[in-house]
């Protein structure tokens, strides 16, 4: 186990190494991304403030991520409730199909949506990115919400009903507070996925790029590379922050339901 532990620690370092390079070069004054480091600067972050096109992309991304997260979570709640509480004909097939985007290469989702949208005579835009992101975020939301609903003892709802509440007030007073951590966790995860997603946005974004699509175009210009590192630093820090908060809520949900934590979202 000792040697396994050293291996595991090395592995973690390998996993995190690229991410740790981001701030290193984001605050390095050299325009070339290479060792040795020269001196500390915040210049590249200031550069970001001047890229007005990027601000538009950021706003666009936020709008898309927020909408997709809400839609995916709502769709996720329906499916997770159906899958954990009820049995219905073709359950395995239907749920399997809904979860399919989890393994399907994103390029397939992207081109197939693109072809249908163009064929039907619509133009792509923020709406089509939202449609695609909702599709790929829903399975993640379902995975999280399913465990939230599964850990909810059905007799809690029956008890509330037995004590005089209506189905609606039972949902409000018992179900919702108990699965709320799961819902928040699903929202945050979906938001993060949509915010970071590149391929579907690349195919379906139309005239207004999302932040990753804009970032991709920045990567072609060597002059902008330090700014890419700066923006990357911000995005990665934001993602990690959101994920830590999501994990916090997920664990709180598990604790509330009196469960022993087994770890991990999936």
């Amino acid at each position: 186990m000792k040697s396994l532990k050293s291996y595991a620690i090395l592995y973690l370092i390998f996993l995190y190494a690229p991410i740790f390079l981001l701030p290193l070069f984001a605050f390095n004054s050299s325009t070339v991304i290479a060792f040795p480091l020269t001196s500390f600067t915040t210049e590249w972050f200031t550069t970001l403030l001047t890229l007005t096109e990027m601000h538009g992309a950021l706003l666009n991304s936020l709008k898309i991520a927020l909408t997709s997260a809400v839609l995916a979570t709502i769709l996720g709640i329906f499916a997770a409730m159906a899958a954990t509480r009820y049995t219905f004909p073709g359950q395995r097939g239907i749920m399997g199909f809904i979860m399919l985007p989890l393994v399907l290469p994103e390029i397939i989702v992207a081109v197939s949506l693109l072809i249908v949208i163009l064929r039907m005579g619509f133009n792509t835009g923020a709406w089509s990115v939202i449609a695609g992101h909702t599709l790929i975020c829903t399975p993640f939301a379902i995975a999280i919400l399913q465990s939230a609903f599964a850990s909810l003892d059905p007799s809690l709802e029956e008890a509330a009903y037995d004590l005089g509440e209506t189905p609606a007030s039972t949902f409000r007073l018992v179900t919702l507070p108990l699965v709320m951590p799961g819902i928040i966790s699903a929202l945050l995860i979906s938001f993060t996925i949509s915010m970071d997603e590149f391929i579907i946005a690349f195919f379906l974004t139309g005239a207004e790029p999302t932040l990753p699509v804009y970032l991709f175009s920045m990567m072609r210009f060597p002059k902008l590379l330090p700014a890419v590192m700066a923006l990357g630093t911000i995005l990665v820090v934001l993602s990690i922050l959101l994920i830590v908060i999501a994990e916090f809520f997920r664990r709180r949900g598990a604790k509330r339901a009196g469960l022993k934590d087994t770890g991990g979202f999936l």
Partner: protein, 301 residues
């Protein structure tokens, strides 16, 4: 009972409520996933005539071209080879980690380890791939670092803009995917089974081989599929770090759709890629099932 009565009864039954609840999500997946997938399939038998115009007469010309043109064949084979290698590397490297977290970590620290392993997965894929380009470049972080400490005299050139770079980058990106399913399978193993094996006279190594490994097989099968299927269609990594010799089938699909404006051929390549993946996945699942002594299906507990 009239038909109306039957319907009313159904929608008040458990099955009916379940169907009603799942229907918005199922409908969404139907409209935005099933319909487009069918559309891709249909279009692969058409011919592009204008920017948005198609000749909709049925033809197998696209399939003929896709299967005979050496360029497409080479791209397809390379994609298969890359994702096969990436799968092998990630799963082999991941198994000891999953084993360590499941058997070597105190229960209260397990979720922290798993969380630490999965965090990088939630950060932007594009940025992570881009970082590998920066790391592996001719004047990149690795070369400049090695030069600075005097480990090499001139920059290594075999590590960027080729298949090696694609494999390294993908193996890094998909690492957590391989760890999680194996970890879950290992966690499900009843610890008393291992004690029973020791009690019956087996060594630690033989216990691992005769008990742990067969019971972990479903997790390994899941890990293989969950890495293999998405990597074969990866676009970003070959595009950023692959160079001309490292491109894969997804890059060609994108080129056909967005650059060459030949959607039917792009659709054909997509359909072929999905078919190949599906066949390999099914064959592998059947083999895995057999290897695991058929215990993949009927899960304990």
């Amino acid at each position: 009972m009239t038909f109306g009565d039957k319907m009313r009864r159904f929608f008040r039954s458990e099955q009916g409520v379940g169907m009603m609840l799942v229907s918005p999500t199922a409908l969404y997946a139907l409209l935005l996933l099933a319909v487009p997938l069918v559309a891709i399939f249909v279009i692969s038998f058409w011919t592009q005539t204008g920017v948005r115009d198609f000749d909709t007469t049925f033809t197998l010309a696209n399939y003929k071209e896709a299967l005979t043109d050496p360029l497409y064949r080479q791209l397809m084979l390379r994609s298969l080879m890359v994702s096969g290698l990436v799968t092998l590397i990630t799963v082999v490297l991941a198994f000891p980690i999953a084993y360590f977290v499941s058997f070597g970590v105190k229960p209260e620290h397990k979720s922290l380890w798993i969380f630490l392993i999965t965090i990088p997965f939630w950060t932007s894929y594009l940025i992570r791939v881009f970082l590998w380009k920066v790391i592996l470049g001719y004047n990149g972080v690795l070369n400049s670092g090695l030069l600075a400490v005097g480990a090499i005299d001139e920059p290594l050139s075999f590590i960027l803009y080729n298949v090696n770079a694609v494999i390294i980058t993908l193996a890094h990106a998909y690492a957590p995917f391989a760890i999680l399913p194996i970890f879950v399978a290992l966690e499900k193993i009843d610890r008393s089974l291992l004690e029973a094996s020791r009690d019956l006279g087996e060594s630690r190594t033989m216990t691992f081989l005769r008990v742990t490994l067969p019971l972990a097989a479903p997790g390994v099968v899941a890990a293989v599929l969950i890495v293999f299927i998405p990597t074969i269609g990866d676009y970003v990594t070959p595009r950023l770090v692959g160079g001309p010799g490292g491109l894969m089938i997804a890059n060609m699909i994108q080129t056909q759709f967005l650059r060459l404006n030949n959607a039917p051929l792009g659709a054909t390549l997509a359909v072929l890629a999905m078919l190949i993946v599906a066949v390999i996945a099914i064959v592998f699942m059947l083999l895995g099932n057999k290897a695991a002594g058929g215990n993949t299906g009927g899960r304990r507990k």
